[in-house]
Symmetry: D2
Subunit: 153 residues, 4 copies
């Protein structure tokens, strides 16, 4: 890790079909990169889909995405996608992302996402398991825990 404040990175290569007619990686493709990064993040800390807490049958849904495009990425560029969980609420948590072009260290994009933990039976959000929260806290010492604040509402 060379980027301060991030403990997780994946690398993706911009594929031919992801580049649009302006010659740059299409704006929507970055949300696919973020999605891939988030799943790899969860896997890397031992909370892999199909195992651990994901096997409790609960689902994760994205409820918010935002992205600032800082520079273009082009075909065959190798992009490092840095991710961290920045906050945890009762039934949701937030990611920060930074995309850097590996060849020149230029920042390509910055993004955020919020994920909510949903019980597929009720279709409603439900409290994040304690194991999830504790695992994230160990991996991200600076994560803001906003659970109590919400409980006191």
């Amino acid at each position: 890790m060379t980027i301060s404040g991030f403990n997780h990175k994946i690398s993706v290569v911009v594929r031919f079909h992801e580049v649009d007619m302006l010659g740059v990686c299409n704006n929507a493709v970055y949300l696919n990169y973020f999605e891939t990064a988030r799943l790899e993040y969860i896997k890397s800390i031992g909370l892999m889909p199909g195992k651990g807490i994901f096997s409790d049958g609960k689902l994760f849904f994205v409820v918010h995405n935002e992205i600032d495009y800082l520079d273009h990425a082009r075909y065959d560029d190798v992009l490092d996608v840095y991710s961290r969980i920045s906050f945890i609420k009762n039934s949701s948590f937030g990611y920060d992302h930074l995309v850097v072009n590996q060849k020149n260290n230029k920042e390509i994009a910055k993004g955020k996402g919020v994920i909510v933990y949903v019980d597929p039976v009720t279709g409603k959000s439900t409290d994040l398991p304690e194991l999830f929260v504790e695992t994230i806290k160990r991996f991200e010492p600076e994560v803001r825990i906003l659970k109590d604040e919400k409980l006191s509402e």
Copy 2:
């Protein structure tokens, strides 16, 4: 219908993100168009997903696709995708597709696809329902019925 031999047509507009850095609709996108055309075809003859025979719990999977690219399509081109079911076997059936650029009637692509009817419990192909076969025969009088040939194998 202006194209001889086809009783079904959908129209799609080439979207910005479907155009690649060569300025033309990317080759893989046509398989999405074919997929959309096939589902609309099934819907148009009253065998709509979620109703009728699709509600028997069986699944349709593509087992073959082929496509000849005859000319380029570009951003915002309106494409007519013509489809017909050309043959029916015991547990599979085949589509023919023709893609025509609406603005100049140029043929953009020709394709074929084979769909197999699968029982999700066994994971194996299973006989197409008689209702499906009869409905197709009414809609496509020239469809080749290859069921008996397979039965005699």
Copy 3:
């Protein structure tokens, strides 16, 4: 138009391949819908790509996107994507989007985007043409013009 505050609408149908393994329209697909909506918006007010101000050789690039996902959209849902230009700065402008499920009027997503006008020769942002600004002002009487504020910086 049935939605207050929006003068432009396109309708899109959620395609089979846009639905992910959770059974809902994938989060990134909405940025494609926004992109399509923006281009149709520009076309509808007579500033069509390839004609008018777009033919001055300048490019439009997205520099910001954000989206709140309010409800799921599923295969074959017809979505109305409402768009308005909410502000204009010297060389950029901002869109608001609202996505509504046509069958039940449920709000599916809300989004924003910022587009910058770029001179491909210099690669730098450049002032929006007066024709563009005047055309938008006629179509969107409530658009906030932030050009002067920026000029006075």
Copy 4:
């Protein structure tokens, strides 16, 4: 290389958004994998886009694709995509592809593609450079050279 007859391999991981609502990698995605494989193949033999013969300004367009889907691939599966150039004609050449699931060596798909070499000025196909043909012949000793046959037409 563990697969007889192929001298080139890339590995791709099935991404979340590439899986459709049937829980399997969508059929069109494989054409993106083939496209990626073909470009990596060309790069690996020193005929990289932007360098070497690609810098002569000529373009490569796909004129044919076909694929047999042999088994499903699912989210996070690692797929080995094997490619070889099987024939070379005057202004076109053909690929064979084989997709294998890395975890169990099951064959997922087999495909073919034909690429034509086009002069962007005339928009017509043009003879493949001798360097291209010679380089392929060294890398694929069993490639069928169909140039002479076409010349004698």
